[in-house]
Amino acid sequence: MPTIEFTCPDGSRRTVEARAGASVMETAVKLGVPGIVGECGGGLSCATCHVFVDVDQIDVTGRATDFEEEMLEDAMTPPTELSRLSCQIAMSDALDGLRVTIAKEQQ
């Protein structure tokens, strides 16, 4: 199973295993990784699963789509070019070892 290393809002790190096909948001919420809310359950509607992808991995995850970018525009933690809504990143073996930093404030 591919792993994800989360850097949580308090600076702590946590590495978890993800089901292939599960989103980064779903993985975090199901395992109680703090800082990701995911209120809409992956519907790309709430912008409460904002993460920053490691700069060396953003080309593998791909960058935010137009709709995602618009959702993130007014985020409380200002977005960068590494910002993604983590419900939109589906885990696969190609993403094994993914490192993401969870935005300090969601919405």
Binding site: R19, G21, A22, E26, V29, K30, L31, G32, E39, C40, G41, G42, G43, L44, S45, C46, A47, F67, E70, M71, E73, D74, A75, Q107
Partner: protein, 423 residues
Amino acid sequence: MTGCVAVVGAGQAGLQLATTLRTLGYDGRIVLVGAEPGLPYQRPPLSKGFLAGTVPHEELELRDPSLLAEQRIELHAGRRVVGAVLDRAGGLLRLDDGSELAFDRLGLATGATARRLPVPGADLPGMLTLRSVADAEQLRAGLADAADIIVVGGGFVGLEVAATARAQGRRVTVVEAADRLLARVVAAPFSAHVRTWHEARGTTVLTGAAVAGLTGTDRVTGVTLGDGRTLPADLVVAGVGASPVTSLAEELGLDVERGIVTDVAGRTSHPRVVAVGDCTVQPHPHAPDRLLGIESVNNAVEQATAAAAVLLGHEPAPRGVPWFWSNQGDLRLQLVGISDGYDELVVRRGGSAGEGRLTVLYYRWGRLIAADVAGNPRDFTAIRSALAEGRTLDPILAQDTDVPLRTLLTEARGLPADAAARA
């Protein structure tokens, strides 16, 4: 502090109540009793990705069993409460396997059931409703070999099912009794926008159309309308609302009025009992003497989070701005605030907003109270922030789609919306 909190209902609200008790530091027993088998799951994908087959069952589940074990949440899935007693110090639940559970505090998250059509033939096979994962599995199987689908009810669930079925190439007719879609929740320009989207994809929308009965002998073959016409149907789905499940609350002597009566933090008429989610009614934000049922994930999560604090004797955090979403194919609807009680509308469309986008802003006493947004996340997030911060935006300037809404936000002046309601 030791003891036992029993939570009845293991949906989004019940699970949130249970897990929040633990994260707030409660150390006693937490027992979560759910009538449905399996792990707690989210319902929104049932009419969308799960029905379409793109979202697998695992993705519905809200928490991993390892997290529930770590948080010492005892899940009794597939169990019903068949009896209960309550006094000032706590009470006892009797479950359908004969076991008994003593508690000193109780959370009710009993949800709602899908309303059935009150017409002849409503019990025929092929007449379905959608509430549970079992309902969704049955509907998915039914869609696979049906040609003509009739959706009764032009609300969110009905329209989501219609969009999913149409995308699978079925002939779909939506039959709505009111004169427009989503009539109870959105203003007419928004209804029209949604109707246009569905019709452009080949769905037939009939409004002002009452259902008189269903035809068929061993299974449904048609829907007879009030004007006498009978439309052929292989499958009929009723999306005509949900009724809060209040039987246990009534047995315990709690105040019930349509739903279990609570305040915004889930307090009931009994100091040791909270109620959360779709089974509740709570004060209307603009008219505190009226009770409102808010069926949404957002309400379930926030009300349950507040109720957990209440059960532990903590001050609950203030509630945020209510919001809701509905995805119908690529039509993305985001609703924020409570528009009920508005006295002025602003429609924002065209120009640089782009094709297929529409924002309807609702004002009361000159102040922004809510908005319905189709396909425009910038407008949605700007308005959500405005409402959260108690700001408003000028209704005239807001009509110009070349101006981003977030540049128009100003401090709200004059009467706050709820004070206006009391005036």
